[in-house]
Symmetry: C2
Subunit: 249 residues, 2 copies
């Protein structure tokens, strides 16, 4: 088990081989065993395999090749729609049209997604998370017909790997773990924590390719700019509001 | 691997046995192998073992006994503090003081938490998520000294189980999975999806104990009331704002 976790790499090239239905259902079933708040299971998994729909999703997810290649695309959604309907049919008055309920449902959906990712990897499949699921939530809602109280929070592609990449680097464990309380970082701490990452050959290549002086600038100026972050923040908050989760906030 | 996932039960009674440091570090290391947006690792794990601090956390987490019993308490935080400091020390201007950045960091932290939960379970330990981590975020920030740009999103207790509960029920897989697109639920669908849960002996016991006509009413009137949800929504959004993640929204 720990072996599967330790071996994780995101896979960005896939064979066209489809995934057996029985295997896919076992993987989805594994998803449903994740902890969920009050056992409410306020999430949904939308499993998209049809090529024309995957093509629409590919356009939405910034046209990353792997989205077209991988045979299975799963969108994990915070979902109070089903639970609300159940309440209304059972003479109960649901009070879940607020931010806490959205976040609770998002937690449910994200824990499920990680179970699905690991169950897939344990069966020889490769996966890649698509960060674009939150950036492009409004468009995903249209493509997948998501009703009120349903918001996409993550997406995965799954398929048989057509590459065998190395593990990616991680910060030293001490850089992300705090003992007892949070101990804030000094300048020396930051230097030590990022030293290995900054010394990687990949970093030198990135600096040259992006014509930047520091790796941090590649993140702030090229990959995750303030302007994009503000734009997508507004869009995602609009989506959360439009789907009915900010009525009392 | 799938076996560990399928066997998950939340453990609410713990032995007082401590967890070996080496084992704990391997479990935390497994956490860091989770996918993270752009490999930024914008999360922190605060590992609390000291009894006096765990007592403060126990009070915060609605005085659930297991929080006092379990030897290890981990608070998973969305954390842009470390990344922002790195950027500023490397002549880069971080633009992460917005909602998208909070949510991105929350996703990172939650995927890490599920890896940690499964790695612990694979090693014979029991875990329980504490939903109260979001409700009581303001108090947790005080207890653990969390600085700006750090927000708790989940908490786990970990320890050796002192009970062996059955698996809890789940809705049928077809109730939470949609094929191709989302297919909204009819009244009949809802009846079918919730039939098994409503027929459980535990449900009959809950109805009697809570003097309610339907299980849904136990959720809406007793467990997750509109009034509490609105209260905790305001508090959590205040925390997200106060920690510096809603500056442009």
């Amino acid at each position: 088990m720990i072996e599967t976790i330790l071996r994780h790499r995101s896979i960005r090239k896939y064979k066209s081989d489809s995934i057996d239905d029985g295997l896919l259902y076992r993987i989805l079933e594994a998803g449903t065993r994740a902890s969920t708040t009050g056992n409410m299971q306020v999430y949904s998994m939308v499993v998209t395999r049809e090529e024309s729909l995957r093509k629409q999703l590919w356009e939405t997810h910034f046209k990353q090749d792997m989205v077209l290649q991988a045979p299975v695309h799963i969108t994990f959604c915070a979902d109070f729609n089903r639970f609300n309907k159940w309440c209304r049919l059972r003479k109960a008055d649901p009070g879940f049209d607020n931010y806490l309920s959205f976040f609770t449902a998002a937690i449910d959906a994200l824990l499920v997604s990680q179970n699905v990712a690991l169950a897939a990897e344990a069966n020889g499949l490769g996966i890649c998370y698509l960060g674009t699921a939150t950036y492009m939530a409004d468009r995903i809602i249209e493509i997948l017909d998501l009703p009120e109280c349903v918001v996409p929070v993550a997406a995965l592609v799954i398929g048989y790997p057509d590459e065998d990449p190395d593990l990616t680097d991680r910060l030293p464990l001490g850089g992300v773990v705090h003992h007892e309380k949070y101990s804030d970082y000094s300048e020396k701490d930051i230097d030590r924590i990022y030293a290995e990452k900054e010394a990687l050959p990949e970093t030198a290549a990135l600096l040259e390719e992006n014509r930047k002086e520091t790796l941090a600038q590649v993140f702030t100026d090229n990959r995750y700019t303030r302007r994009d972050n503000i734009h997508f923040s507004k869009q995602y908050l609009d989506v959360i509001r439009r789907q009915g989760f900010l009525k009392n906030n």
